[in-house]
Structures are given as structure tokens and as C-alpha cells.
């Protein structure tokens, strides 16, 4: 990771997203299945990065509510990819030690007999480094 | 970061531009303030098919590091077929130049319409970067001029 850069810059770099391309149409928020769970809404992600207010973004619960379903990426008319942006924000968090959203010790409580391995693997990848 | 800052080596680049498309495309790049390195100097020709391979050899003989020829998109030539001639001629010429040691990266044909200011600018930026990365060119000489 590149140190000495602001967190907003890091997010832009990791995600490869250029937030200036956004024209604020809101199609991402109109498509998002997790919209109601999020405190910062998909169409707002770009503003936080543009305004260098990454701190609010990385502390938001939206990081852990995005399902990476790619609906926003698929439908965005400006090729902005808000889903990649929020993933970039999440990356800056999970790449720091101790900031993991999922702790190994809490796993047993989540398990049930039907739960597929794939779920554990995916959740680990999403929530932890 | 601009290309200017990245490379110390300043290549000499000649761009032959068709009056009807890419020359106007370059004008549009200008009026839209879409920059590209000052190393590029444009020569206006009525059509890409006016460009004699001799001109390109001459440029390399006189110290050019790269030559780019811009014409109308296939099918859109102002004179119907000129760009097809240019394409065929340049394909032959460039492979011969490569054989002589003027790498393929130093020569390029690109179709840029009058409406493509952005394309003109990005093409020139790419081309300059490519030529700059290849460094100074071998100098072609005219054997007849040697004693």
C-alpha cells in the first residue's frame, strides 16, 4: 500500500475508480438491494472521496452492507462503478490490523449444518485481509 | 504527470495530417485545450495519400525520431479512396523501415476525424511517449550523398 497518501487517494487507487465521472443520476442507489441498510448511500460514495472525507466513509456501515452484487456497476451510465469504490474503502480498513469486521472466534456462533463452505470463504475474503 | 516531465529526451516528431479530417481534429484538440507534447509538429497535406514515402524517409534522414500519418477513417476519405492508398503504402514502408532499424514504434498511421479532438490528443500523447521510450533514432543516410 502506498503510505503518505490520503485515505481518499488510497481508495481511488485501489478501486481504480475516477469519481469525477459521476453525473449524480442516482441509478446506483436506485438499483442497490442494500440501500435501506446503508447510512451512506451508493450515490454518495463519490462525494466522500471527492471531498477527501474518507474517514466518514470508512467508518460507515455501508462498507459491510454492500453485497458486491454488481447491479450498480452494471447499470451505471457513466462507468463510475460505485461498487468498486466502496470495496476500495473496505480494503483500506481490512488491510489495517485489528480492524476486521469478522473475528475467527465469533465464527462458531454463525454456523449451522446447511451452511456452505463457500459462504465462510467469501465472508472471510470480504471481511478480513 | 505530463509526459514532458517524465522524459528528459525530447523526440522530434513529424505528423502529416489530412486537411479534411485530422488537421481539423488537431484544430479541435487546440480549441478544446487538449494538450500534447510540443515535440509534435504538424504538416498539412490535402489527403493522407499525398504523403510520399520519400517524405518519411527524408524526415528520418534529417533526424526525426518518429513520424505519424493521420488520415480519415476508412470509408470516409474526402477523395473516396486516398486513405486506402496511404494505408497500403505505409504498411509496406513501415515494415521496410523496421528492417532498416527504424522500429515500428516510431511510425504510425492513425485515423482521426474532424470531430475527434480527444482522439488526436490521446494519439499524440501515446505516440510521443512511445517514441520517447525508444530513445534517439538511428539516422538514415542517403548513400548518394556520401563521398
Amino acid at each position: 500500500m502506498s503510505y503518505g497518501k490520503s485515505q481518499a487517494e488510497q481508495i481511488r487507487e485501489i478501486s481504480g475508480v475516477n469519481p469525477h465521472k459521476c453525473m449524480k443520476c442516482g441509478k446506483c442507489s436506485a438499483s442497490c438491494p442494500s440501500f435501506n441498510e446503508m447510512d451512506i448511500k451508493p450515490h454518495q460514495f463519490v462525494s466522500y472521496v471527492l471531498n477527501d472525507d474518507a474517514e466518514a466513509l470508512v467508518n460507515s456501515k455501508s462498507l459491510w452492507k454492500c453485497l458486491s452484487c454488481f447491479a450498480c456497476i452494471e447499470r451505471c451510465p457513466r462507468d463510475v462503478k460505485p461498487g468498486k469504490l466502496i470495496d476500495g474503502a473496505r480494503q483500506t480498513v481490512v488491510r489495517q490490523r485489528g480492524a476486521d469486521y469478522l473475528m475467527p472466534e465469533e465464527i462458531p456462533e454463525h454456523l449451522d449444518p446447511k451452511l456452505p463452505q463457500q459462504l465462510l470463504v467469501s465472508a472471510f475474503r470480504r471481511y478480513r485481509r | 504527470m505530463s509526459i514532458e516531465a517524465k522524459h528528459k529526451f525530447k523526440p522530434k516528431i513529424v505528423a502529416f495530417c489530412c486537411n479534411w479530417c485530422s488537421y481539423a481534429g488537431a484544430d479541435l484538440a487546440g480549441s478544446s485545450r487538449l494538450g500534447y507534447p510540443a515535440d509534435v509538429k504538424i504538416i498539412r497535406v490535402p489527403c493522407s495519400c499525398r504523403v510520399n514515402p520519400m517524405f518519411i524517409l527524408r524526415a528520418f534522414e534529417k533526424g526525426a525520431d518518429g513520424v505519424i500519418l493521420c488520415g480519415c477513417h476508412p470509408g470516409d476519405c474526402h477523395y473516396s479512396t486516398g486513405n486506402y492508398y496511404a494505408r497500403r503504402r505505409m504498411t509496406l514502408l513501415f515494415s521496410m523501415l523496421d528492417f532498416l532499424g527504424v522500429e515500428n514504434g516510431r511510425t504510425r498511421v492513425e485515423w482521426v476525424s474532424a470531430a475527434e479532438g480527444v482522439k488526436f490528443s490521446t494519439t499524440m500523447n501515446e505516440f510521443v511517449e512511445k517514441v520517447a521510450s525508444l530513445g534517439e533514432n538511428v539516422r538514415l543516410g542517403d548513400l548518394r550523398c556520401r563521398n
Binding site: G26, A30 | V14, W20, A38, K41, C47, F55, G82
Partner: protein
């Protein structure tokens, strides 16, 4: 060419446009060091009256034979300076421009670098002028007839204006009737005039005008020639109905048994017969047989239309006919269509009959449309109670699905639709999802506000992500209200998509035939975006209507008139000056090989037997001769010529090599 030139160099500041990034004094100073240069000066605005006077003065005082102006693009002011030189008594082709604005000051930031480049560009132009020779323009004649391609409102208006000025004009329209998209509209904004009521009189006027000939169901097949003298092949597709005999009674269409063919005019929302007139006010009021769907043409059996036609007009034997005409000017007025929505299935257009485009809604609202003008759902014929309009469907979309531009007309027609619906059906709720409402234009914003304020149309700032058809036949619209920061899920009975417009599909083929340039979105390019907006860069070709860019009816009509004026200006001339930069063969070098003749796209090169004096040897040789009236100066022949005999005046081998040398020095 052998005599030594006396060159004057004039460096323009262009206010600060050039002077801010280029040290103009330095450019003038360096130019003086170049061979042949006897005078150099700089001035604020070379193109101004005072600037031009400076040129004249220097020509007189210093006895200049050549001029270099370091200024903006030659595409801007080359003519200005050539005229100035001519007035000063110089041959206008002794002037060259060094483009130090568009190609230098505007794109570079570093003043040292830009100045260095400007000096080199000036040097190249000076090197070229040193080899310039006086040239004389030729003359060519003007055929006093214009061709208008496309018979929509743009084409009709252009044709009417040209005809009124006294010049004959032909309209070529590919569908069976003139009228175009405007004939499909129900009402027009911002006055809510009935579209047909204002269009039909114009259609009638065009068809009755003595200077207008209309070729419907016809397409331009081939174009050759050049400004003032185009030759055009027009394919008149077989109508299968004799235009002279037909009385337009309509019995044939009525009795035709092949009735299940999607009506183009009604956007496929209902059907027409195989022999049909597209709409009631069609001009000409003569049906055509759609041969692909006609039973007679498919199986050989039927022939009912011929039997019922009392005039004996039906003619199954008719063949396509190619006619060749000459024109002095050509106006492209090819119009537009809405984009295909195959890639926008999140709006369920292909999954529900109740999701329609705005153009389809025009037909639904129209008394002559598939529902007789009654607003109803196409799935079950029920009156909708909730209608959602979605703006920017495919417009302002830079992905491969849509179009990067704004279609310009949608905000206004949606306001119109919403208003008309609320007016006629006050119980119907109307919501409009928009990104921005764009209504510049006279009385336009007022119109939109009326829709919101007086008619209670619910404008929601935000887009729709998905339209989901429900088991009960309704549509669940999932969108966002950005101002409320809420996701909305609302039930609608009908969804209307403001679908992006794009140039009519055939325009690329026509642009190629006209050698008119076209942009990546298939809009025809204008010669200058501000100052020559209705001219194509190709001389003699003019642009009218949406083929040049999205516009509404008033703008289209204004542009149609402007294009007509440009065409009239051309037709009013008896003779045109031709480009003197033509090819020329050196008779001593030409060996008569025919290579140049083979590459010439204009057939301008022929061979003649001529006696030459080759260093004292007199003999008759076969030598290439260029017809200056036909040569357009592309230069293809000059490169093909194996002996170097062929050269292009104004862009000679020596001149270009001199430029190359100056740049690489």
C-alpha cells in the same frame, strides 16, 4: 520558382490567445534570420482591418513576393489573408499560414517550449513559401438544381425555401410518404399545436410547388462530381402501383388479405395490410406493396388488389428504376430514430407491453393511432391510473449501451406528455424520474414549470434502477429520490421511456457517398461548430435537421432555412472558382505508364501524344494530361508516379520536403 523570394512574416498575438504562451516578438525576430525573409513584424490582431493594412503596406514598401502569417488555423483565416494579399497586388497563393494557435499556444503551457515550437512552425511555412508559385483558380459551372435527401420537416422546409427562391429542387425520401418523424407526433411543445395540423399544409405545399419534384420510396444510390456539378443516381423502388393511374381510393388496402404486418408509422403497435398507405395524409396518396409480406409476391396466388382496383393501377411487374440527375447543391436532411432498447432490459421494455417509448406514446395519444387516441395499456386496454416517465434512457450514457450525448428534446416532450395526460385524465397520477430537467429555449422552462405547478406532475430527481412486471399485471418501479435520499418502490400501470435519439441508420452510407464527414455518433459534422453550422466540410453539401445533431422542431426549421440559404447562395452563382492546387505532369519526366490514371478517383487524367523537346531531342511521347476542372487535388497520383513526373501545385514534393527539413533541422 527560381527567382529569390522576398518574404514578409506577420506574427499575430490574437489578443492573449497566442501572446500569453508564445513570445511573439521572439518568433518575429527569429523569422528574420530565415532565408528570403526581408520583413517581420508582430501585431495584436492580424485578421483585423488594421492588421490586414499592415500586410498591404509591407507588400508595397518592401516589395514582398511571399507572405507568412503566424496565426490561427488556416481553416479559420487563410482566405482572409489571401484576399488581403490579392488586394495588395500579390497572387493569393503566395500566402502560407503557420498555425501557432490551435497547434501551439492553446495546447502548450510552457512558454519557452511553445515559443520554440512556434519558431519552428514559422520556419516550415517560410521554407514552403520560398518554393511557392503563383496559382490561378479555374472555373466550373453550376447546375441550377438542388437535391434534398430526406422528406421530413427539415427536408420539406429546405426544399420549400429553395423552390421559393426560384430554383428547382428534388426531394428523395426513402419511405412511401414525405412527412418524417413529425408526422408521427401527436402534439408539439411548447404550444401544444396538433403536429399534423401544422405539418400537412407544408407537405401539400411542397407537393404542389412547381419547382419541387418529390421522389418517395426512393434512395440515393450513388453520388459523383463535386460542388456545383454533382451527378446522382436515385433508385426509385418499385411501388407496384402506378402513380399516374392511382386515385388513392384505398379499396386495395381494405381488401388486402395480408393484414398482419407491423405498421412502421404506428411503431409496430398495430398492423397494416401488405398494400398500404402509411397514414391518412400521406403524400403522395398512393399505396405501395410491401413485397416481402404480399401473398401475391410470396406465393403467386392472390392478386385481389389488382382485381378491386378500378383504375387498374396495381402493377406487379413494376421494377426498380434508376434515374440519374445533375445537381449543383445537396442538402442532407436524413433525420433520426430512437435507439433500440435491447440493452436496457432493466426497464422491462421487452418484457411488458405497458412499457413503451415516448414516440410510441405519441402514437397512443394520437387519434389516428392504434388506440384511436384513447390512453390505454397496450396489454389489456385498461386506462392506466399511475404512469411513470423515465428520462435519459440511453442518453448521457457513455457505456456501450447508450449515447454519450443529451438527446435534447426529451425533457420538453415529457413535460408535454405529462401535461396532456393530466389535462385529459385528471385522475391519472404522473411521476417523472429525471437526472436534470433541461429546458433552455423560448417559453420552454415556463412550459415545464406549468406541468409541475398547474398540472401537478410529480417530478422526482433520481433515476430508476428496475421496472419489475408483477403477477397482477402492474409494474413495480424501483427508483431513487435523491433529494429525499430514499429508495422508492412504486406501482405503475404504464412506464414511458424517454428513449435516446440517434441519426437514421442509413446516414453513414449517405455520408460516404457525399464524402461528408461524420462523427462517432453518426451525426454529420459541420464545417465549423459555431460559424458554419449548416455546411458540411465538403463543398456543396449542406446539413438540415437532426442529421447534424439533436434538435427540436423550431430549431430544425430554422436550420432548414439556413441550409436552404446556403444552397441558394451557391445556385445563384453562374460560375465557381476551382481549387488551383491541382496535379501537373512534368512532360520531360512522364513515361506514359498509366499508373496515375489508375489511381485517380475523378478520372481527371488522360493521355495525349505530345511533341516534347528533351534536351534537344524532339519526339512525340505519350504524356499524362490533367483536366483541371476535374482534378480535386488529392495527390494520389503524385505518389504513385514512378518517375516523379506528377506533382501537386501548392503541395509540391519540394515544398513538403522543405517543410520536413525545416522541422527536423
Amino acid at each position: 520558382m527560381s527567382r529569390v523570394q522576398r518574404i514578409g512574416v506577420f506574427v499575430c498575438h490574437c489578443g492573449s490567445n497566442i501572446a500569453a504562451t508564445v513570445d511573439v516578438a521572439k518568433v518575429a525576430e527569429m523569422a528574420l534570420l530565415e532565408p528570403g525573409v526581408v520583413h517581420a513584424e508582430e501585431y495584436q490582431y492580424m485578421c483585423s482591418e488594421a492588421g490586414q493594412a499592415k500586410i498591404a503596406e509591407a507588400v508595397k514598401d518592401k516589395g514582398l513576393t511571399g507572405i507568412v502569417v503566424c496565426s490561427c488555423s488556416p481553416r479559420m483565416h487563410e482566405t482572409t489573408f489571401r484576399n488581403a494579399a490579392e488586394r495588395a497586388g500579390l497572387n493569393p497563393f503566395m500566402v502560407e499560414i503557420a498555425n501557432i494557435r490551435e497547434h501551439c499556444s492553446w495546447i502548450h503551457k510552457d512558454k519557452t517550449e511553445a515559443t520554440k515550437k512556434a519558431v519552428i512552425l514559422a520556419r516550415a511555412a517560410i521554407a514552403k513559401v520560398n518554393l511557392n508559385a503563383p496559382l490561378k483558380e479555374g472555373e466550373s459551372r453550376v447546375t441550377k438544381r438542388a437535391l434534398v435527401i430526406g422528406g421530413g420537416i427539415a427536408g420539406i422546409q429546405t426544399a420549400l425555401d429553395i423552390a421559393e427562391a426560384g430554383y428547382p429542387v428534388d426531394i428523395v425520401e426513402k419511405t412511401p410518404s414525405i412527412g418524417g418523424r413529425m408526422s408521427q407526433l401527436d402534439k408539439t411543445f411548447p404550444t401544444l399545436d396538433c403536429s399534423a395540423c401544422i405539418l400537412t399544409p407544408k407537405m401539400v405545399e411542397a407537393s404542389a410547388h412547381e419547382n419541387i419534384r418529390i421522389h418517395t420510396y426512393s434512395e440515393v444510390e450513388q453520388v459523383s462530381g463535386f460542388v456545383g456539378d454533382f451527378t446522382v443516381d436515385i433508385r426509385k423502388k418499385a411501388r407496384s402501383v402506378n402513380m399516374e393511374k392511382c386515385t388513392g381510393c384505398g379499396v386495395c388496402s381494405e381488401k388486402c388479405p395480408a393484414k398482419r404486418n407491423a405498421s412502421e408509422f404506428n411503431r409496430g403497435l398495430n398492423n397494416r395490410s401488405a398494400i398500404y398507405t402509411p397514414f391518412a395524409q400521406a403524400i403522395p396518396n398512393v399505396p405501395v406493396i410491401d413485397r416481402e409480406n404480399c401473398i401475391k409476391f410470396k406465393t403467386g396466388k392472390c392478386g385481389i388488389c389488382a382485381k378491386v382496383c378500378q383504375a387498374g393501377a396495381v402493377d406487379y411487374e413494376q421494377k426498380d428504376e434508376i434515374i440519374t440527375e445533375k445537381y449543383g447543391a445537396i442538402v442532407a436532411a436524413t433525420g433520426f430514430d430512437t435507439i433500440k432498447l435491447d440493452d436496457f432490459d432493466e426497464y422491462a421494455y421487452s418484457q411488458s407491453k405497458d412499457v413503451i417509448t415516448s414516440l410510441e406514446l405519441e402514437r397512443v395519444m394520437n387519434a389516428a393511432g392504434p388506440t384511436g387516441g384513447h390512453l390505454e395499456r397496450l396489454s389489456d386496454g385498461k386506462e392506466p391510473k399511475n404512469i411513470v416517465f423515465i428520462q435519459c434512457v440511453g442518453s448521457r450514457d457513455v457505456t456501450c449501451r447508450g449515447k454519450g450525448y443529451c438527446s435534447k428534446i426529451c425533457c420538453m416532450y415529457t413535460a408535454k406528455h405529462a401535461m396532456l395526460i393530466r389535462d385529459k385524465y385528471p385522475d391519472v397520477n404522473v411521476a417523472v424520474f429525471y437526472i436534470d430537467v433541461r429546458t433552455p429555449g423560448k417559453n420552454f422552462d415556463e412550459f415545464y414549470r406549468r406541468a409541475a405547478e398547474e398540472y401537478g406532475v410529480n417530478y422526482v430527481k433520481g433515476q430508476v434502477g428496475k421496472v419489475a412486471p408483477q403477477p397482477d399485471g402492474s409494474l413495480l418501479v424501483q427508483g431513487v429520490d435523491l433529494l429525499d435520499n430514499k429508495q422508492i418502490r412504486t406501482k405503475a400501470d404504464m412506464v414511458v421511456l424517454a428513449t435516446a435519439i440517434e441519426p437514421e441508420a442509413g446516414v453513414r452510407k449517405i455520408a460516404t457517398m457525399l464524402t461528408a464527414s461524420i462523427d462517432n455518433n453518426n451525426f454529420l459534422t459541420e464545417a465549423h461548430p459555431k460559424l458554419r453550422p449548416v455546411e458540411s466540410p465538403t463543398a456543396g453539401v449542406f446539413l438540415s435537421g437532426v442529421c447534424q445533431g439533436p434538435k427540436d422542431i423550431p430549431e430544425t426549421v430554422a436550420q432548414a432555412g439556413a441550409a436552404a440559404v446556403k444552397a441558394i447562395g451557391l445556385l445563384a452563382k453562374d460560375k465557381l472558382l476551382t481549387n488551383p492546387c491541382t496535379a501537373k505532369a512534368d512532360e520531360l519526366l512522364c513515361n506514359g505508364c498509366s499508373a496515375c490514371e489508375n489511381v485517380c478517383p475523378y478520372g481527371a487524367i488522360t493521355y495525349e501524344s505530345r511533341e516534347v523537346n528533351d534536351h534537344g531531342i524532339r519526339e512525340v511521347r505519350r504524356i499524362a494530361a490533367v483536366n483541371n476542372a476535374l482534378c480535386q487535388g488529392c495527390g494520389a497520383c503524385t505518389v504513385t508516379c514512378p518517375s516523379g513526373a506528377m506533382d501537386l501545385q501548392g503541395f509540391s514534393n519540394r515544398q513538403i520536403i522543405a517543410e520536413v527539413d525545416a522541422i527536423c533541422r
